[in-house]
């Protein structure tokens, strides 16, 4: 158990790709959430559909838990590789559930005394597909979980597949549960630990990952058209959007490539639809040309970039935060772009919703950066609240205006927009153009139109840009600076340093950049550590560019893995 918080523990389930590791993990997280706990899940898998090692860990705690630990309190091993690779994460007294059918054994170098529970998972399951469900049932018995909650979840998960599939799964869960009770209970009320014992539920909790949050945020924000080409780690955004399009009346279209995706979205947006596309770094490269087209033609567009290990194909199923400088600079020339970065699924949800309003208000592309850890890691949150949201179409008219000037000069940079079919004539022209949109290369016009477009950023900085959030005391011995999914690990680590005066500046606005607010925090700070998942400190560079302040102490990693909580704790111990 963790020294700083004995109400938090980590369950890890591992096996081959295709054994349903991720879905078992999500189900376990939901059992925990419905039993009154908070959860954070982290999944590792290679770029394969079958074979290869998959592992999901679920952090369970009585208070919000936001980052992954590198210790494991309870390990569920469906194959030998799970034991070989993760035995070193076990601590003294950790529990291990392992499949006896496969004659699994703990490696000899396992450093601690652990409590192992062999269970004939395969035999109880009858077929390979059900092994994960048997393991879930067995786990609930060992951790005093409520089997009825699992049965409800199986019913929900397999409802569409019919009664037979549900019954098979329920039977498998019961088989695992009963085997453990029969074999290991020996009259004990708690067989191993009461980690999952049901508590009173005090709030309306959901378990959601960043992909689901972006998709649902987009729907809530009034999405009308999305064109998305599949790519890890954002494919699940399009799966969610595709599933609900008829119900909500928007269109999701799978295009032939990312170039088509962004151009379709621009076409739909030009015609008046709230439009988005999403991709990862490689797809964003292909969209670069379209990004500038949206900027030049002043067409609203939301782009979500789910960052993964790069460059080239890189680490397709692993995380990194190395697209920021590309997204800030992509495309030739100058045009206003708004760039935001979310730190967890909840922020991804609300920033996606805001991105649609910003795109319409400023008639320009808005990029939301999320990293793979946000895309695919499930976390529990209080139910998101959309009641305060209002769709804002900005300066927009569907009615005929005499002598309509689509690109009329305006101090705030924003001209009134219209759509084809309205009776208004204009050209969304990728060439430099005059107020109507006709191609125009005259000096005065060029200067006026360029200045008009760029003025949007100043307007946005004044009217919409948010200052970074400062977590922890204002006066601290150490100030951490970061962005993206590191937020969760940092906040989790800070719980162990409550009396040591650590604060953390979490930045979500990348462009325009809240330079004054950032500088104000940094100039007051005694020691600053910049934390990022990339090689060259993209945020550190941006801060230096915008504020002139160089952060010398950088904690960087680019191995595709997130910052485990212990790594942040170690850094804090080093500098405090």
């Amino acid at each position: 158990m963790k020294s700083y918080n004995n109400l938090r523990f980590t369950i890890k389930i591992g096996g081959e790709a295709g054994q349903g590791i991720k879905s078992a993990g999500v189900m376990l997280a939901k059992v925990a959430t419905r039993s009154g706990y908070h959860t954070y899940s982290y999944t590792e898998y290679p770029s394969l559909i079958r074979g290869g090692h998959n592992v999901t860990q679920i952090e369970i705690a009585e208070e919000p838990v936001t980052g992954p630990s590198d210790n494991t309190d309870f390990l569920i091993a469906l194959n030998q590789e799970t034991l070989d690779l993760h035995a070193n994460e076990l601590t003294s007294g950790s529990g291990v559930l392992m499949d006896t059918d496969k004659k699994l054994t703990l490696p000899k170098n396992c450093p601690f005394e652990v409590v192992s529970f062999p269970v004939p998972l395969k035999e109880l399951a009858g077929k390979d597909l059900l092994v994960n469900t048997v393991a879930l049932g067995a786990t609930l018995a060992l951790l005093k979980g409520d089997l009825e909650i699992l049965k409800d979840l199986l019913q929900e998960a397999f409802g569409a597949k019919g009664e037979e599939v549900i019954a098979m799964n329920v039977k498998a869960a019961e088989a695992g549960y009963n085997y453990v009770v029969d074999t290991y209970a020996k009259g004990k009320n708690v067989i191993y630990k009461n980690y999952l014992e049901k508590k009173e539920i005090t709030s309306d909790q959901i378990v959601i990952n960043g992909n689901e949050a972006v998709a649902l945020g987009a729907i809530a924000a009034g999405l009308q058209f999305a064109a998305i080409y599949p790519m890890s780690p954002i494919s699940n955004i399009l799966h969610v959007l595709a599933a609900h399009q008829e119900e909500y009346g928007y269109v999701y279209k799978q295009p032939e490539d990312e170039i088509s995706a962004i151009n379709m979205a621009i076409g739909a947006s030009f015609a008046g639809a709230r439009s988005m596309t999403t991709t990862s770094g490689g797809g964003f490269c292909l969209m670069t040309e379209g990004l500038g087209l949206a900027g030049m033609t002043e067409t609203p567009l939301v782009i979500v970039d789910g960052m993964r290990g790069a460059p080239a194909t890189g680490l397709p199923t692993w995380s990194e935060q190395s697209d920021m400088q590309m997204v800030l600079r992509a495309h030739q020339g100058d045009f206003p772009r708004i760039v935001l970065a979310a730190g967890d699924p909840e922020e991804a949800f609300y920033l996606t919703m805001q991105a649609f309003n910003l795109a319409d208000k400023y008639q320009t592309p808005v990029v939301l950066l999320i990293d793979k850890n946000i895309c695919e890691n499930d976390q529990s949150f209080s139910l998101f609240d959309t009641s305060g949201y209002k769709v804002d179409r900005g300066k927009f008219t569907m009615t005929r205006v005499e002598d309509f000037k689509r690109f009329a000069l305006a101090k705030d940079g924003i001209s009134e927009r219209s759509v084809p079919g309205s009776g208004n004539f204009f050209i969304a022209n990728s060439d430099e153009h005059d107020e109507f949109g006709y191609s125009n290369e005259e000096i005065a016009n060029r200067n006026e139109q360029m200045q008009k477009r760029m003025a949007k950023l100043e307007t946005c900085a004044t009217e919409d840009m948010a200052a970074p959030v400062l977590y922890g005391p204002e006066d601290a011995e150490v100030t951490l600076v970061s962005w993206g999914s590191n937020k969760g690990s940092i906040l989790q680590a800070m719980k162990g340093f409550k009396e040591r005066k650590v604060n953390f500046m979490h930045i979500t606005w990348i462009n325009p950049f809240p330079a004054e607010a950032v500088a104000a925090v940094l100039t007051k700070a005694k020691h600053v550590v910049n934390i990022e998942c990339n090689y060259s400190a993209h945020m550190g560079s941006l801060i230096r560019e915008k504020t002139g302040i160089e952060i010398k102490d950088n904690l960087l990693k680019y191995d595709g893995r997130p910052f485990f909580v212990e790594a942040i704790e170690a850094k804090l111990r080093e500098v405090l």
Partner: protein
């Protein structure tokens, strides 16, 4: 036939803009512009019902000369912009103007996928077998051994024919016309627009400045009209006809036409309204959020 193009006089219509065409005198694009404006005037295409998209190349300047709300997009990317417009508002007539470099070179991928999807739009492919705007390099439709600034010793590559490519890719209306035949081109533009599904209209045109080989004389000598009794529904025969190109062997007219539901007619969300008119304000996602828990 050179005279035919040179003698085209601009018609006074509401579609005129203050911009004067910058095309070279005698350029086939004048004829296409004229035919399009005639068709638009005849059919009542205006800013309440029609939108245009153009790619990059000499053809792309057309957006400045027709007073219909339009996008001049990126090189090769006009087609996805056009399909995006159509999905957002399928009541609009959508015309995509593109060129041989624009959509056989840079945007070839979009062309074949648009053909197989059957969006109800019209693609007008200005094919002059040369890169004109960049002052005369070989194009994907330039013949083998063709001498240009980029192929001074003759083109080592072989040409791509847009018509058979369109048929093979699944287009449901495929036609070719010569720009100078303004009357026939006007009729074909109207017919292409009224076809339900994707219409590919290749317009072969001379580039007076950089393509001496495929000038007006060439098209006068070598084009012929598909016969009256030609069966536009026979795909295999259409394909064979479409492969013809050469001395006295450039067919004009409709090669292939197939009745098939358009993309937009098969999307449930687009059956009652255009996409823009579907409700999108105040959507409630609470049920979906709870499902995650």
């Amino acid at each position: 036939m050179t005279d035919q193009i040179a003698s085209i006089t601009p018609v006074a219509t509401d579609l005129n803009t203050p911009c004067s065409p910058t095309w070279c005198p005698g350029c086939g694009n004048f004829a296409i512009l004229s035919a399009f404006k005639k068709a638009a005037t005849q059919e009542g295409w205006n800013n309440t019902n029609t939108s245009m998209v153009a790619g990059i190349g000499c053809h792309g300047h057309i957006v400045n000369y027709v007073k219909l709300t339009s996008v001049e997009g990126l090189h090769g990317r006009a087609i996805p912009v056009g399909t995006g417009i159509k999905m957002a508002n399928h009541e609009l007539n959508v015309f995509v103007f593109t060129g041989d470099g624009d959509c056989m070179g840079e945007g070839g991928n979009h062309f074949i996928h648009a053909c197989r999807r059957n969006h109800d739009i019209t693609i007008v492919l200005h094919n002059n077998n040369i890169y004109g705007l960049t002052t005369g390099q070989t194009s994907p439709t330039s013949p083998h051994n063709f001498k240009t600034k980029s192929t001074p010793d003759g083109n080592p590559d072989y040409p791509l024919l847009p018509v058979p490519l369109a048929i093979a890719s699944g287009a449901t209306f495929v036609a070719r016309e010569y720009a100078g035949n303004v009357k026939e081109l006007t009729e074909l533009l109207i017919r292409a627009n009224s076809h339900k599904g994707i219409s590919i209209l290749e317009v072969v045109l001379p580039c007076v400045s950089f393509n001496k080989e495929f000038g007006a004389e060439f098209f006068k000598e070598n084009t012929y009209r598909l016969p009256e009794d030609y069966d536009v529904t026979d795909k295999v025969a259409a394909f064979a006809k479409a492969l013809e190109w050469g001395s006295h062997q450039v067919p004009l007219g409709v090669f292939y036409e197939e009745a098939k539901p358009s993309y937009e007619s098969e999307i449930p969300q687009l059956q009652h309204n255009i996409l823009l008119e579907n409700t999108y304000m105040d959507r409630d996602v609470t049920g979906l959020l709870r499902k995650q828990g």
